[in-house]
């Protein structure tokens, strides 16, 4: 028996203490501050330094931002308004330059009456992207398509689009919204057709050109069907060669003949009218769309066992990565002119897109090769054990995992490439950042303006790149398979 029993305990508390407020140092904002900003002497010093830097920046630039002028016809008028409103010697930002020249920053020298065309093309781009980017997120897709529909139609009305095209855009946009609710994959047909459609909207001309380009794959398919019973190999070759022959030899003439019989053309806009964000986005989107498949092929080729394929891929990748993009752009704009027969008009934007694509593809290949290398060997062996052939193994087992691993790298390459499109300034194209700003400064009214155009263009670039970055994070979360 124990000596201790209830009676020997002098005091037993039979009620709970009333809950007290936590010490002020351990609660709420105070605690957060202590833990995150002032947790030790080093952190405290860094925090104070940070605050000082922010204070320094704000105190130096705040008055400049606060004294913003939005309505003026020239820099001198801006200065006059600032001097009148905030007193002599005050300084301020003259955003009036953006207000007056925004159209050039967005559309370059595109004919103002046709501004609705790039706008519509941009809106339809989201319809083409929706089934690819948001295939398994109906909620987000609905929001994106809904916003696109409203904004595109509103902008088209504001920019004075003809009624017929408004109806066309409305049918496509609303139709896409409706179809995507039931059969998202149907929209992929639109995604495949979009590149041709987009090119036609941007550059204009006869619709028969893109239509005749489309005839190529159809002919290839017919050839494949006809040849297939004879020999599989011959059928594949015919399916590849016949469209190329058609494009090189006959498509142009066929389009001209068709145009002369039934004219179906919209006003053509030459490449030298492109500029600003229209140019950047055109080059950026084409480069992104083309460099990803090319990069995958190159990455697979580099890991191939076939000597020739592997060597060619290594040479291509290492050569392109070893050369600055500006050098490639100069080759595109200057050197090609010497080698092509005189009188050939090989579009400068097309040349730049090709070079940017090749450049991005080389980097892309290395990023994806990283993903392929990160896959455990067991995955490849499992694919072999299942009896899958090379392409099936890559398509069903290897690539889905490798690409998922590579997402951050891929999107980084995209973002880098999109920002690199400003380098076209060196070949005389009007990129939004430098060429367009210099052109604006070359007018007597805006000479001497410096920071405002840079800040404006930088802000738009940030919005686009930040959106891409957020999308990649969303994609990573959605594809995460390891912690469910």
């Amino acid at each position: 028996m124990s000596d201790t029993h209830a009676q020997t305990v002098p005091f037993v508390r039979d009620t709970m203490l009333p809950p007290a407020e936590p010490p002020i140092k351990e609660a709420g904002a105070m605690r957060w501050l202590r833990e995150n900003l002032f947790s030790g002497p080093v952190n405290t010093i860094l925090t104070i330094l940070g605050i000082l830097i922010v204070w320094f920046l704000v105190s130096h630039f705040w008055d400049w931002f606060a004294h913003s002028v939005w309505n003026a016809a020239s820099l001198s008028e801006c200065r006059q308004i600032i001097a009148e409103t905030w007193g002599e010697g005050a300084r301020g930002a003259c955003w009036a330059v953006i207000r007056e020249r925004w159209n050039q920053y967005v559309y370059g020298f595109y004919p103002p009456a046709l501004y609705w065309r790039p706008t519509m093309a941009f809106g339809l781009l989201f319809v083409a992207l929706a089934p690819v980017l948001f295939s398994e997120a109906p909620g987000i897709r609905r929001i994106v398509l809904g916003l696109t529909t409203v904004l595109t139609l509103w902008l088209m009305v504001a920019l004075g689009a003809p009624a017929a095209w408004l109806v066309f855009a409305a049918i496509v946009l609303v139709g896409a919204l409706a179809i995507s609710e039931r059969h998202v994959s149907w929209l992929l047909v639109f995604s495949v057709l979009y590149p041709l459609m987009g090119v036609w909207f941007l550059w204009g001309g006869s619709a028969w050109g893109p239509i005749m380009v489309l005839v190529g794959p159809v002919l290839g398919w017919i050839a494949w069907r006809v040849m297939h019973p004879l020999s599989g190999m011959v059928a594949v070759i015919a399916a590849l060669v016949i469209p190329v022959l058609w494009w090189v030899g006959y498509a142009g003439e066929a389009a001209r003949d068709a145009e002369s019989i039934v004219s179906f053309a919209i006003p053509a806009v030459a490449s030298d009218r492109f500029g600003g964000f229209l140019l950047s986005i055109t080059i950026g989107i084409s480069g992104i769309a083309l460099s990803l498949p090319l990069g995958i092929v190159l990455a697979l080729a580099r890991r191939s066992d076939m000597f020739l394929v592997k060597s060619l891929a290594v040479i291509f990748i290492e050569f392109i990565r070893g050369v600055p993009l500006i050098a490639l752009l100069f080759v595109a704009s200057l050197l090609l002119n010497y080698f092509l027969p005189p009188g050939t008009n090989f579009d400068i934007i097309l040349r730049v897109i090709i070079m940017v694509t090749l450049f991005a593809a080389a980097y892309m290949a290395e990023v994806i090769r990283g993903g392929l290398a990160a896959l455990p060997k067991g995955q490849y062996e499992a694919a072999d054990a299942l009896g899958l052939d090379y392409w099936k193994a890559q398509r069903l087992i290897v690539l889905p995992q490798a690409l998922k691993i590579s997402i951050p790298g891929i999107v980084s390459t995209f973002i880098g490439m999109f920002k690199d499109t400003t380098l076209v300034t060196f070949v005389g194209l009007y990129d939004p950042l430098k060429s367009m700003s210099d052109a604006v400064r070359a007018s007597t009214s805006w000479k001497g303006i410096y920071w405002e155009p840079y800040i404006f263009v930088g802000f738009i670039f940030f919005l686009i790149c930040f959106a891409m970055s957020r999308y990649s994070m969303y994609l990573e979360r959605r594809l995460a398979r390891d912690h469910r």
Binding site: D272, T444, G448
Partner: protein
């Protein structure tokens, strides 16, 4: 061996390409449009406005040539060229004519295989300093920091000038005029140097132009002129004599306003020949009688073009100086139309 065959083929192809482009006049007429290489943006000389229409001193010369050759001053495609791409754009045939404030130098004329057809603006390099620096002559700039655009003739001139005068300087390298202004305004350099026309335009755009002075010394010769390719002399003649027609028109008092009247009434035989009333000078260069008349009517004579774009009534406010007629003490001297 194989390399040399390849290079030989390339060279031959280039030569053939060059030979194929020899008849620029026919090409331009067939195309119905003059490809004119201009600056991507230089105040007063070439700049696109808010609607994308090009204006400026060099642009007006393109218009005059288009009017002479094609009969329509609007039939010009302006090809913006950068300092790096301008000469290649011309020699590769991308442009028919380069009117891009380019300095006529020996090596450009010979080694780069260009033909400068004349001078449409005599420029020279100058210095701008803050007034409170107390400097009144470039000779007093010993030890100064100077903002200088890299890769231009001005950079070399600056080094030559300071060396010749036994002075030292600290260069602050800049990439573009806008950046140079910014550095100069921020006090990163004591002096800003570029062509005098550019300095005047820059100073005019300052919030406080009265606090800055342009020093009187002009340290270099920068004869700016339009250029064409070597090897097509007829096309060179057309461009050269279009420029002379504009200059001669000012000398003889032919303006875009009175040209119609002078065509019928002028008794001056030189004017009659210029305007195609008597002799058929145009036929000698493959054009019609009234080519020069159209060139003058496009944007006016040389003096009118100067006044409209960079003259004293414009915000840039350049005086004629060396660019006055030879009769007024300048260097503008058109060869006789005979």
């Amino acid at each position: 061996m194989k390399t040399s065959i390849f290079l030989g083929t390339v060279a031959a192809a280039t030569l053939m390409a060059g030979a194929g482009m020899a008849d620029t006049l026919a090409d331009v007429k067939a195309r119905g449009e003059l490809n004119c290489g201009v600056n991507t943006g230089l105040v007063g000389f070439a700049a696109p406005d808010a609607n994308g229409n090009w204006t400026g001193f060099d642009v007006d010369f393109c218009k005059a040539v288009a009017a002479a050759v094609l009969g329509d001053a609007t039939k010009v495609k302006y090809v913006p060229t950068t300092g790096q791409t301008r000469f290649t754009a011309l020699s590769s045939g991308e442009v028919d004519l380069l009117a891009r404030n380019s300095t006529w130098t020996f090596s450009r004329d010979t080694d780069l295989k260009l033909d400068f057809i004349g001078v449409n603006y005599y420029d020279g390099q100058g210095f701008m300093v803050r007034k409170d620096l107390g400097v009144t002559s470039a000779k007093e700039l010993d030890g100064a920091t100077v903002c200088i655009q890299t890769g231009t003739t001005t950079e070399l001139n600056l080094a030559d000038y300071f060396k010749a005068n036994n002075m030292a300087y600290q260069p602050v390298n800049i990439d573009s005029n806008a950046e140079g202004e910014q550095q100069y305004m921020a006090g990163a350099c004591d002096a800003y140097t570029t062509d005098a026309s550019g300095l005047a335009a820059t100073r005019a755009a300052f919030a406080d132009p009265e606090n800055h002075i342009i020093l009187p010394e002009i340290i270099s010769k920068e004869p700016l002129g339009p250029a064409v390719r070597h090897g097509d002399n007829n096309w060179g003649d057309i461009v050269r004599w279009t420029l002379y027609a504009l200059i001669a028109a000012e000398e003889y008092g032919v303006t875009s306003a009175n040209i119609g009247e002078l065509t019928t009434s002028s008794q001056n035989p030189e004017v009659q020949r210029l305007l195609g009333v008597t002799d058929d000078l145009g036929a000698m260069i493959g054009l019609d009688k009234e080519w020069a008349k159209r060139a003058i009517m496009a944007r006016g004579n040389y003096g009118e073009i100067f006044a409209a774009n960079i003259g004293e009534q414009t915000p840039i406010g350049l005086a004629r100086g060396l660019n006055a007629q030879w009769t007024q003490g300048g260097l503008m001297y058109a060869m006789p139309f005979r």
